[in-house]
């Protein structure tokens, strides 16, 4: 029987390993940027069609206060709408699983409503709620809400029948069973929904701003586009992408923290006989 414990990789060792694994990806990125930069220069492509990366960067440095102010607004919409979706969807998923009549009456309606293209409703929200922060928050909420509800319901329902049999022989019920068995078992499903929602949040905020807004990155994007300030269009897109990534990876980081047993389930982790 093996008794030796595997040495936990040290922090710097882990970074070196990450670098080794990702070196190809990093090289591809560098190569793409170089290609972009020099292709634009060599072939004399007009700046309003495709500006070189260095031009985007210098333009951004000149005008970053405006862009960052927009990012602050859009960021609030993303985070606020997303958190609102999380706070509403998970309890709703619990209610669907807990009470049969909710599952049979309310849940089909929710699933049906999901089919409606949410973005198509955005103009309606402007009519109802005006131009302010509220309608943007609602659109982000609406887009994030469905995947979180659906995945959480699936998570709460994906009970291992054998585990439930074991739990029943202990006589555990109610809160104890929920906290010790059902909730941990549901967490992977819940996090799937949280990640899908996080990926949608930035898109939702920008679309909401496209429809009607006088601030935020979506608004700036339209302004820059209209004035053919293509370098700033690129800068804004890059910033939006970064914000989307940050939200997504924050959720993924939380997932690693909360359910490491699920995240690290890889076959090469197996030790023992």
């Amino acid at each position: 029987m093996p008794t030796a414990k595997g040495d936990a990789a040290s922090g710097s060792g882990r970074f070196a390993a990450w670098l080794r694994r990702r070196i190809g990806l990093i090289l591809v990125f560098v190569a793409l940027f170089l290609l972009w930069e020099y292709a634009v220069k060599i072939f004399g492509i007009k700046e309003y069609l495709l500006p070189p990366p260095t031009r985007i960067w210098t333009e951004f440095l000149k005008r970053w206060p405006t862009v960052m102010a927009g990012a602050w607004i859009t960021g609030q919409e993303i985070v606020g709408g997303y958190l609102l979706a999380v706070v509403v969807s998970i309890p709703l998923a619990l209610a669907v699983v807990r009470w049969r009549f909710v599952e049979e009456s309310l849940y089909p309606v929710i699933v049906f409503l999901q089919i409606i293209p949410k973005i198509a409703i955005a103009p309606l929200f402007i009519i109802w709620f005006g131009f302010g922060f509220g309608p943007k928050l609602l659109i982000v909420f609406l887009l994030c809400f469905f995947p979180i509800v659906v995945s959480s319901v699936a998570g709460f329902k994906s009970l291992d029948p054998d585990v439930m049999d074991f739990a029943r022989t202990t006589g555990a019920g109610g809160l104890r069973l929920f906290l010790k068995i059902r909730l941990p078992q549901a967490l992977p499903g819940i996090f799937t929904g949280l990640k899908v929602g996080a990926a949608l949040a930035a898109t939702a905020a920008v679309v909401a701003e496209f429809v009607a807004s006088d601030r935020g990155l979506g608004y700036l994007l339209q302004q820059y586009n209209g004035q053919l300030e293509t370098p700033m269009v690129f800068a804004t897109i890059v910033l939006l992408s970064i914000m989307g990534l940050v939200v997504y990876y924050a959720v993924e980081w939380l997932e690693r923290l909360v359910i490491p047993w699920h995240v690290s389930q890889r076959p090469n982790d197996v030790t023992g006989i």
């Binding site: 029987m1 008794t3 414990k5 291992d160 054998d162 585990v163 049999d165 074991f166 739990a167 029943r168 022989t169 202990t170 006589g171 555990a172 104890r176 069973l177 010790k180 068995i181 941990p184 359910i259 047993w261 699920h262 690290s264 389930q265 982790d269 197996v270 030790t271 023992g272 006989i273």
Partner: protein, 282 residues
């Protein structure tokens, strides 16, 4: 591997009200009274069990032996109150089972561990789910883990263990609360032959010290004969009791007993029963 014996006392001692006394028979009688089971899935009707009558005495070790699909697992789930029988009833210690029976320890075919808990916490969840403070059972858990060769693995996660180690964790979880009734459904099925043999020896020692009533479901003829007071031989589906064979071999069933002519003869007798039923064909 050392034996289970060192781990047999509850941590707070065996005073009155704290648990069964060490020398008394800890087990309860189990009575199967005309138990039958029919499953209906979709339009298909499957007869799983046919009128099982069996009286298991307090502290007896009964092996239920049969081919795959003969309904032995169903029989165990009925006894544990996890499935309601289509006909008949089971009573444990004179009480009819109507719903999950909790005064028992179960070990299933697969380990059924919780992925998010390490080995020790997977054992202690047995107590947590029962609303018992697990702190008082930590020493006993460590002792039991040591006795099944899992010393030093208490803080490992299930995914880090081999199948055999996971199953041994599950066995310790089934024993940690010192139940008067133990139900094991092919518990050694996933173990390698050597571990299997050691586990059999350890299980017998454990049972000899506590005498909890034990229902041991298996499809291994020699395993059943080596462990049990009586072997209940089941027919293929629908499972019915073919014959009950008392095993009056001396205990402990050490190497001399296992290699004796009587042991071999008993195994042969059961093999012939299975040949007659067409379970084994030459």
């Amino acid at each position: 591997m050392s034996s289970f014996l060192s781990a047999q006392r509850r941590p707070e001692g065996a005073g009155p009200g704290t648990g069964p006394a060490g020398d008394a028979i800890a087990g309860v009688p189990v009575l199967f009274d005309g138990v039958g089971q029919t499953f209906r899935t979709g339009g298909r009707v499957t007869r799983a069990l046919e009128r099982v009558d069996l009286e298991v005495e307090a502290g007896e070790f009964v092996a239920i032996l049969g081919p795959s699909g003969c309904g032995k697992s169903t029989l165990m789930k009925i006894a544990a109150g996890l499935i309601a029988p289509s006909e008949g009833q089971v009573s444990i210690g004179g009480t009819v089972v109507r719903g999950p029976w909790t005064k028992l320890g179960v070990v299933f075919q697969s380990p059924v561990l919780l992925d998010w808990r390490n080995v020790l916490d997977n054992v202690l969840v047995q107590l947590e789910l029962r609303g018992i403070d697990p702190a008082a059972y930590r020493d006993r858990a460590h002792a039991l883990l040591r006795s099944v060769g899992l010393e030093g693995f208490a803080d490992r996660m299930p995914r880090e263990l081999s199948g055999g180690m996971r199953q041994r964790t599950a066995i310790v979880r089934g024993l940690i609360h010192d139940p008067p009734l133990l139900m094991m459904d092919e518990p050694f099925g996933a173990l390698d032959a050597l571990t299997r043999e050691q586990m059999r020896i350890d299980l017998e020692k454990l049972w000899l010290s506590r005498r909890q009533t034990t229902l041991f479901i298996t499809h291994g003829i020699s395993e059943a004969v080596a462990l049990a007071d009586r072997v209940v031989v089941m027919t293929p589906r629908p499972g019915r009791i073919d014959r009950i064979i008392p095993i009056d071999l001396p205990r402990p069933r050490n190497k001399a007993v296992i290699s004796s002519a009587r042991f071999t003869a008993t195994c042969d007798e059961i093999t012939e029963l299975f040949m007659k039923n067409g379970v084994i064909q030459y």
